[in-house]
């Protein structure tokens, strides 16, 4: 009898401990699982050794259930309207060379894995390149068509379609070799306090993720789901558009989309998410 009671209380004790541990681990992000079309997508990952973060969480984990569910079914995900249009665009002849994307890239699935490695170094140009740069280089140099604007619907749709091919693959962006100086510049920007409110990206996304800031649940500001369909925007938006919005909210003059600064910031942020899955196209509120 005596023993029984002891065992019982020990069990209760253990339960209490594990509950409090779980409570701690998930005080920040919620505990939901992202499954799309029966495929499990990891929304958390071990932080790289040099990371300032204890653990990496996708922004999906901080969204409300209704927003989360939109990303769990491609038929409900509103980004897929643009993805479907991009598929048509892929086969459309444009420009003086009389070519479509499909004339040179027989299948968009050939781009599997690409999104997970961008931005990357472009040896010929001696510059870093993002997916937008790559697409526009094909348009101007190979199709002799006009470049798309960074935030043009066609560009957003195409980056979503190409990103989708890597969905579920771990982000693996390089910060060494020629990318090192770009990465370093991005890191400096990430930690620089800007604007009248005098905050850095880290003030919110590193030091306070998991907390509510008014009605918003602060995430780690990861970029593994971009371009994202944002309900507030009523459409897709680029990584740089989100950077711009965050800077404006703290009353700082944003850099331009496609600027060296935003490319550097994108590079740094991408490496902060190394190990998370590509989730393109994600849905946010």
């Amino acid at each position: 009898m005596n023993i029984n009671i002891k065992i019982l209380s020990a069990t209760v004790g253990i339960c209490a401990i594990s509950v409090s541990l779980i409570g701690q681990a998930f005080a920040d992000a919620d505990n939901d699982k992202l499954v799309v079309d029966g495929k499990v997508i990891t929304t958390q990952a071990k932080a790289p050794a040099d990371s300032e973060l204890e653990k990496l969480y996708s922004g999906w984990r901080f969204r409300a259930d209704e927003t989360q569910s939109l990303q769990m079914d491609d038929f409900e995900n509103p980004a897929f309207v643009a993805v479907d249009q991009a598929e048509d665009q892929f086969a459309m002849v444009e420009g003086k060379a009389g070519k479509s994307c499909a004339d040179c890239h027989s299948d968009v699935t050939d781009f599997k894995g690409l999104r997970a490695t961008l931005p990357r170094w472009n040896e010929a140009k001696g510059k870093p390149e993002t997916l937008e740069h790559i697409i526009n280089e094909c348009r101007t140099d190979r199709m002799e068509a006009k470049a798309w604007k960074w935030e043009a619907p066609e560009m957003l749709g195409m980056t979503a379609l190409i990103g989708l091919q890597s969905r579920g693959m771990p982000v693996a962006v390089k910060s060494d070799g020629p990318m090192q100086s770009v990465w370093k510049k991005g890191k400096d920007l990430y930690y620089t306090r800007v604007g009248q409110l005098d905050m850095s990206c880290a003030s919110c996304h590193e030091n306070n993720y998991g907390k509510m800031i008014r009605a918003d649940h602060l995430s780690q500001g990861q970029i593994n789901g971009f371009p994202v369909y944002r309900l507030k925007w009523g459409g897709l938006g680029s990584i740089h558009r989100r950077f711009k919005g965050c800077m404006q909210n703290i009353r700082a003059k944003p850099y331009k989309r496609g600027s060296d600064e935003f490319v550097a910031l994108e590079t740094y942020l991408a490496t902060r998410g190394n190990g998370l899955s590509v989730e393109t196209p994600a849905v946010r509120n």
Partner: protein, 154 residues
Amino acid sequence: MRLGVKTLALVVLFSATGISYAGNVGPDEVKLVDGKIAMSLTGSNGDAAKGRDIFINRKQGNCLACHVNKEISEQAFHGKVGPPLDGVAGRWDEAELRAILVNSKKVLGEETIMPSFYRLINGTRTMKKFKGKTILSAEQVEDVLAYLKTLKEE
């Protein structure tokens, strides 16, 4: 009656020049010593009712973005980045609260995310329309302060 005219003249002067601190202690003249600012920035007491509005207003204090405050329970969504401000008047005296509002960095620590509401900064790349301006005016700081002093209950 005479007083009324004077106040009016002061208000006109203030709004006409925008960032002149007519009659008030300017952001560069504030004496913050040992985490305290003893003197009112305007020379008089603020208006707690106005302070409450400024506390809520997203373009002014926006304090609810980061602080829970039971006294404003009619507003949904209180943020949790900072501590609840219930009973804050019991934890800090007036001079300390004024210092926190004016220059949070000097009282709460350089790393704090809380904005400094009456300091000329200084974060780089401040948007043109906010350059050289404080987030709140001297009057607004005193109004918010008067409101904070009413938060006595935990």
